[in-house]
């Protein structure tokens, strides 16, 4: 129970810091006061004006909420993939989500963007979500049609093939539409800049369903640590568990990618850090990765919006900046252990 409380506390702390800092709005120390003031039965004079509160609640809050949801989902999905494939280097984009979403977003940018940008609902996240889901559906169809055993390896290889295909089509579309290269590139790097409560509402159901499913399976994912044969001999329907977990993780990842673009490394470095601190039991790694991922992405979003103000550094750049050296460090540690 202590672990969950600490995890929840880390998210709350990161959220308060995330809400407090920004290039405009109230002085940072007034934000915790106004948040307390908004709680029932409490009345504190924070000195925050209505206009400043609007900046906190309408601009920063959805951004923090979205960062929490996306970070939690990518980390949980990464930990789940790593658990079912027993490979610590697997990331949530394994089955073609990233390439599919990238293609969907590219098409949305390329098709009459001047008009679609003014639509009440931006079609880019929807197109990205559809692209991600279609890519994974294709991966699953190919993987199960050609792999008679429906093994995980066949599924992964199908994911590699679909990723290559989607990337090739995306490149083709980009070559035909040079004017949107910059926008697509910005999307690929990941961003939470334009987050709204609408985005939060859009992804919340998918991420909730995905997260609940993955957390319910965490005990069985832990049994898989002894290998497929022994897990099967212990009564686990290995292929079924793997398929359900992969599909649930992919659904949540697709939703996250649709609103945030491709934010790299979160799905690898957060579960790894949790394992280093708390051990490898998936019963602990999965829920704590979710909390840690939420806190990490909220925190990672802060330097991007402050350091280069008024312009913003894409969050994917920030996570990669910390993630790439950490990834190499983990590889080094792994080699040293072997």
């Amino acid at each position: 129970m202590t672990r969950w409380l600490l995890g929840g506390l880390a998210v709350v702390l990161a959220a308060v810091v995330g809400l407090s800092l920004g290039p405009a709005g109230p002085t940072w120390w007034r934000v915790p006061l106004v948040l307390l003031d908004r709680l029932p039965l409490l009345s504190i004079d924070s000195g925050v004006t209505d206009a400043q509160w609007n900046i906190v609640w309408q601009i920063r809050a959805p951004r923090v909420a979205l960062a929490a949801l996306v970070g939690a989902m990518l980390s949980l999905a990464g930990a789940s993939y790593q658990g079912v494939f027993r490979n610590p280097l697997v990331d949530p984009y394994l089955l073609g989500v990233a390439a599919g979403a990238g293609l969907g977003a590219t098409i949305a940018f390329a098709v009459n963007r001047d008009t679609t940008a003014t639509w009440p609902i931006d079609p880019v996240p929807i197109a990205a979500f559809i692209g991600g889901v279609v890519a994974v559906a294709l991966t699953y169809t190919i993987g199960t049609a050609f792999g008679r055993s429906r093994s995980a390896t066949t599924l992964v290889l199908a994911g590699v093939a679909v990723t290559s295909l989607a990337t090739a089509v995306q490149t083709f579309v980009l070559q035909r539409n040079n004017d949107v290269v910059r926008q697509v590139y910005s999307w690929i790097l990941g961003r939470l800049t334009s987050a709204t409560w609408g985005d939060v509402r859009l992804v919340l159901p998918y991420i909730a369903v995905s997260a609940v499913t993955l957390l319910l399976y965490r005990r069985v994912i832990d049994v898989l640590r002894v290998g497929d044969d022994e897990a099967r001999a212990l009564g686990v329907n290995v292929n079924q568990v793997r398929i359900v977990v992969v599909l649930a993780a992919t659904l949540g990842t697709s939703a996250a990618v649709a609103v945030s673009g491709l934010i790299g490394f979160v799905g690898i470095i957060v579960p790894h850090a949790v394992r280093l601190l708390m051990g490898s039991s998936n019963r602990i790694v999965l829920p704590l990765s979710m909390f840690a991922g939420a806190a990490f992405l909220i925190a990672a979003d802060i330097p991007g919006r402050i350091l280069t103000s008024p312009s913003e550094t894409p969050i994917g750049v920030v996570t990669a900046f910390f993630g790439a050296p950490f990834f190499l460090f983990l590889l080094r540690m792994r080699e040293a252990r072997q």
Binding site: R225, D229, R232, L234, G235, V236
Partner: protein, 261 residues
């Protein structure tokens, strides 16, 4: 408890039979040891009984066919110890033994008080209490084997399958592991089916031997019937002296070929 009946069991890999027409009947508390040269089909037969590979023919436990059982139901009936089991280095002994309770825990459930009692009982019974909280990566070969057997026993299955249970152990630990299995099968009335390469130990601990050659049972019976020099020469291609001790023990000693092989 009723016995285990195998009738015409056949295992194929890619259309090639690796086990053919094996018939055996085992009663509760009996230990059958599969022997035979490498590639004879010992492990494949064990894996078929554990539900890990498809087979044709019939395998009945207590009069019921095991083929129709779900993975969970089968794991309640048959416990399997692989030749080289995967033991995650940073998993504790008690957590590893608890994995054996998986067949009794629903997919989304947690261990019950009864599950914890069963595991605690086994930890005590197998003298694992002193390292119950230690990580698997810190255990010696003999300790690891004891822990793996504890995990299998936690399944509370009437059939225990052991694939080369002593292959990675020194002589002392081989003896300790086999004595432990023998004690437990008598105490719990388990049917034990094991695959072993050490013919002397196989004959010493099991009730019966089944010699497999190219997937076919070519000799069966007690150690005195199966472990014969001419039989070993024919199916192992080995020159061996078979010594019959006064206490009934059969000892197999390979002889130098002096360049004839």
């Amino acid at each position: 408890m009723n016995g285990l009946n195998l009738r015409g069991v056949r295992v194929e890999y890619g259309g090639c039979a690796v086990v053919s027409s094996v018939d055996e009947t085992l009663s509760a508390g009996e230990w059958l040891c599969l022997i035979g040269p490498n590639g004879a089909g010992k492990s494949s037969l064990l894996r078929a009984l554990a539900g890990l590979v498809d087979f044709s023919g019939s395998v009945q436990l207590g009069g019921s066919e095991i083929r129709g059982l779900s993975a969970r139901e089968l794991a309640r009936q048959v416990a399997f110890v692989a030749q080289d089991p995967v033991l995650p280095d940073d998993m504790s002994v008690i957590d590893y033994v608890m994995l054996g309770r998986n067949p009794y825990i629903s997919t989304f459930g947690r261990e019950s008080a009864h599950d914890r009692d069963v595991v605690a009982g086994l930890i005590t019974e197998l003298s694992l209490a002193v390292y119950a909280r230690r990580m698997l990566g810190t255990l010696s070969g003999g300790e690891r084997q004891r822990v793996v057997i504890a995990r299998a026993l936690a399944q509370e299955a009437p059939v225990l399958l052991l694939d080369e249970p002593t292959s990675a152990l020194d002589l002392g630990h081989q003896q300790h592991a086999l004595e432990l299995v023998d004690r437990l099968r008598r105490a719990k009335n388990l049917i034990v089916v094991s695959a072993m390469h050490d013919l002397t130990l196989a004959g010493l601990y099991s009730d019966r031997l089944l010699l497999l050659h190219q997937g076919v049972g070519v000799a069966r019976g007690g150690a005195r019937e199966v472990l014969r020099s001419e039989t070993l020469a024919e199916f192992y291609g080995v020159s061996a002296r078979v010594i019959h001790e006064q206490d009934g023990t059969v000892v197999v000693v390979p002889q130098r070929s002096h360049g004839e092989i």
